[in-house]
C-alpha cells in the first residue's frame, strides 16, 4: 500500500452546541482502500464523512486530503472538492435537469470541459451504471435504485480520487439495493478510494478492505472485516453485531 495517505484526519472534534458529536477522531486512508464505516445511529458516522468535504466544519484538529489542508481557504476547498466525490442517502439529483445534464454539468462548470465532450463522457458513465437508455429522462422518472446509480455516475464524472458514500442504499426499496451495491462493488476494484457508511453488513464483509466502527463520537475499532465480524475487540461492537444480525 502507498506510503502517503490520501486522507488524513488528526484528532478531529465536532460539537453541535453542547453536544460533542466527534471526540478526537484520528484516521488515515490510503489510495485504493475501501473502508466500511459502521456504528450505531448517532455515533457520528455521517458527521465524520461530511467533514471530509466540509459539508460540516470541524472545530478542532486537522484534516488533509491529498496533502492539502482542509480549512477556510477557498482555494484549498475548491481543490479538495474536485478530488472528493459524494453519494448521498437521498441521491440529491438535480431535479430540474435531465439525467445526462446531471452527470455532465459539474465537469463543464468546474473543469471547464466543453459541452460535447462532457456529454460524451457522461454517456459513457451512464453506460457503465447501466442507464444509458435513460439519459434524457428527468430524475423523478427513475426508480430510487436508478437515481442512485445516476448519482454515482455524477460523482464519477469529476474523476475524484475519493468517493464518500453516506448510507447509499438506506433509502431504497429492498429489491433495488443490489443494483446499487453491484455498481459499488465494481467501483471498488478500480483503485478509487472509497469510504462507505453503511448498514449493509454483506457489503462490508465482502467488499471492504477495512472496517471502522464508530461509537459515541469515537472510532472504537479500526480493523479488517474478517476480524471485526468474527472477533470484535469491544463489547459495544459485539452488541452492535448481535443487533444487526437480528435485523433492525
Amino acid at each position: 500500500m502507498n506510503e502517503h495517505p490520501i486522507i488524513e484526519a488528526i484528532d478531529v472534534h465536532k460539537r453541535y452546541g453542547a453536544f460533542h458529536a466527534l471526540k478526537g477522531v484520528t484516521a488515515r486512508f490510503y489510495p485504493g482502500e475501501v473502508t466500511a464505516i459502521l456504528g450505531p445511529s448517532g455515533s457520528g458516522k455521517s458527521t465524520f464523512l461530511r467533514m471530509l468535504n466540509r459539508l460540516e466544519k470541524h472545530d478542532a484538529g486537522q484534516i488533509f486530503i491529498d496533502g492539502i489542508e482542509l480549512n477556510d481557504d477557498p482555494k484549498h476547498l475548491a481543490a479538495i472538492r474536485r478530488e472528493v466525490g459524494m453519494v448521498f442517502q437521498n441521491f440529491n439529483l438535480f431535479t430540474h435537469l435531465t439525467v445526462l445534464r446531471n452527470v455532465a454539468l459539474a465537469p463543464m462548470r468546474i473543469r471547464k470541459v466543453a459541452r460535447k465532450a462532457a456529454e460524451t463522457r457522461a454517456m459513457a458513465l451512464l453506460e457503465r451504471v447501466g442507464l444509458a437508455d435513460h439519459a434524457h429522462k428527468y430524475p423523478i422518472q427513475l426508480s430510487g435504485g436508478q437515481q442512485q446509480r445516476v448519482a454515482i455516475a455524477r460523482a464519477l464524472a469529476m474523476d475524484p480520487k475519493v468517493l464518500l458514500f453516506d448510507e447509499p442504499t438506506s433509502a431504497l426499496d429492498p429489491e433495488m439495493v443490489n443494483e446499487v451495491l453491484t455498481v459499488m462493488r465494481e467501483l471498488a476494484h478500480t483503485g478509487i478510494t472509497m469510504l462507505v457508511v453503511t448498514h449493509e453488513m454483506g457489503f462490508a464483509r465482502e467488499v471492504a478492505d477495512r472496517v471502522l466502527f464508530f461509537d459515541q463520537g469515537s472510532i472504537l475499532e479500526d480493523t479488517t472485516p474478517d476480524r471485526f465480524f468474527n472477533d470484535p475487540a469491544h463489547e459495544r461492537a459485539r452488541a452492535f453485531l448481535a443487533q444487526v444480525k437480528h435485523g433492525f
Binding site: L55, A78, G85, F88, N90, H96, A106
Partner: protein, 252 residues
C-alpha cells in the same frame, strides 16, 4: 387547459403571435363597429399597445428587481437585508396610486434636468418598483423552498457559491415561484391602468376620453373591458405554458 400542458411551446408561440396580431390588427375590425367605437378604433389600438408596453417593460424590470431584492432579503449582510425589507415594507404598505404620483412628481426633481423622463417612463418605473416588491417575496419563498440536499450536492461536486446559485438554486426557485409571479404579472396588466392618473394615454385613459366626448360610457367601457380580458388571457396562457415547460422535472 390540457392543450397548454401538452404543447407548451406551441401555446406560447400561439399566444404571442395572437397578441401581436391583436395589437397591430385590432383597429381594422374595430373600425367597422358603430359609433362611438368605430371612429376611435385607432385610439383603442394605440392605448392597448401602451398598456401592453407598460406591462411588459415593468414586468421584466420588476422580475429582475424581484430576484435582486428577494436575494438581498436573504443576504448574510445585515444592512442589505434591512434595506430590502424596508423597501418591501414601504411598497407593499402604501397605495400604488400614491407611488405613481410620488415617482411622477418627485423623481424628476432629483434627476439632472436634461434627463426629462417621459410620463410613460415614470409610470413604468413606479410600476416596476411596486411589482418588484411583490415579486421579491415570491422569489424569497421560492429560494427558501429549494431542498437543502440540492445545495449540498452542488457544493460536494465543487460548485462555487455563485455557480450553485445560478445553475441550481435560481432555476429551481423560479420554478417554485412562477405561479405567484405569473399572478403578479396578470395583476400588472390591470394595475397599469393607474398610469392614467399621470396622463399616460393607456387603454383606460382612452376609454375615459372617448366616453367623455361621446356621452356613451356603456359601449366604450364594455370594449375596454373586453380588450383587458383578451390581454389577461394571452398573458395567462403564456405564463401557464412557461410553468409547464419549467415543470418537466417534477411530473412523471
Amino acid at each position: 387547459m390540457d392543450w397548454i400542458r401538452h404543447h407548451p411551446g406551441a401555446a406560447i408561440f400561439t399566444a404571442l403571435i395572437g397578441l401581436l396580431i391583436f395589437l397591430w390588427g385590432m383597429a381594422i375590425p374595430l373600425s367597422y363597429a358603430p359609433e362611438p367605437i368605430g371612429p376611435a378604433a385607432e385610439l383603442f389600438a394605440e392605448g392597448t399597445r401602451v398598456t401592453v408596453g407598460l406591462t411588459v417593460v415593468s414586468g421584466l424590470a420588476g422580475l429582475v428587481l424581484g430576484v435582486l431584492v428577494g436575494l438581498g432579503n436573504l443576504s448574510p449582510i445585515k444592512p442589505i437585508r434591512w434595506f430590502c425589507a424596508f423597501y418591501v415594507w414601504v411598497l407593499r404598505g402604501t397605495p400604488l396610486l400614491l407611488q405613481i404620483l410620488f415617482v411622477w412628481l418627485v423623481l424628476p426633481t432629483l434627476l439632472p434636468a436634461q434627463w426629462s423622463l417621459s410620463d410613460f417612463t415614470l409610470a413604468a418605473i413606479a410600476l416596476s418598483l411596486n411589482i418588484g416588491a411583490y415579486n421579491s417575496e415570491c422569489v424569497r419563498a421560492g429560494i427558501l423552498a429549494v431542498p437543502h440536499g440540492q445545495i449540498e450536492a452542488a457544493k460536494a461536486l465543487g460548485f462555487s457559491p455563485f455557480q450553485t446559485f445560478w445553475d441550481i438554486v435560481l432555476p429551481q426557485s423560479m420554478r417554485i415561484a412562477l405561479p405567484a409571479l405569473a399572478n403578479n404579472l396578470a395583476s400588472l396588466v390591470k394595475d397599469s391602468s393607474l398610469a392614467y392618473a399621470i396622463s399616460v394615454v393607456e387603454l383606460t385613459m382612452v376609454g375615459y376620453r372617448i366616453q367623455a366626448e361621446s356621452y356613451q360610457p356603456i359601449p366604450v367601457f364594455l370594449t375596454v373591458g373586453a380588450i383587458y380580458l383578451i390581454l389577461t388571457t394571452a398573458f395567462t396562457t403564456m405564463t401557464n405554458a412557461i410553468e409547464q415547460m419549467l415543470d418537466v422535472g417534477r411530473k412523471r
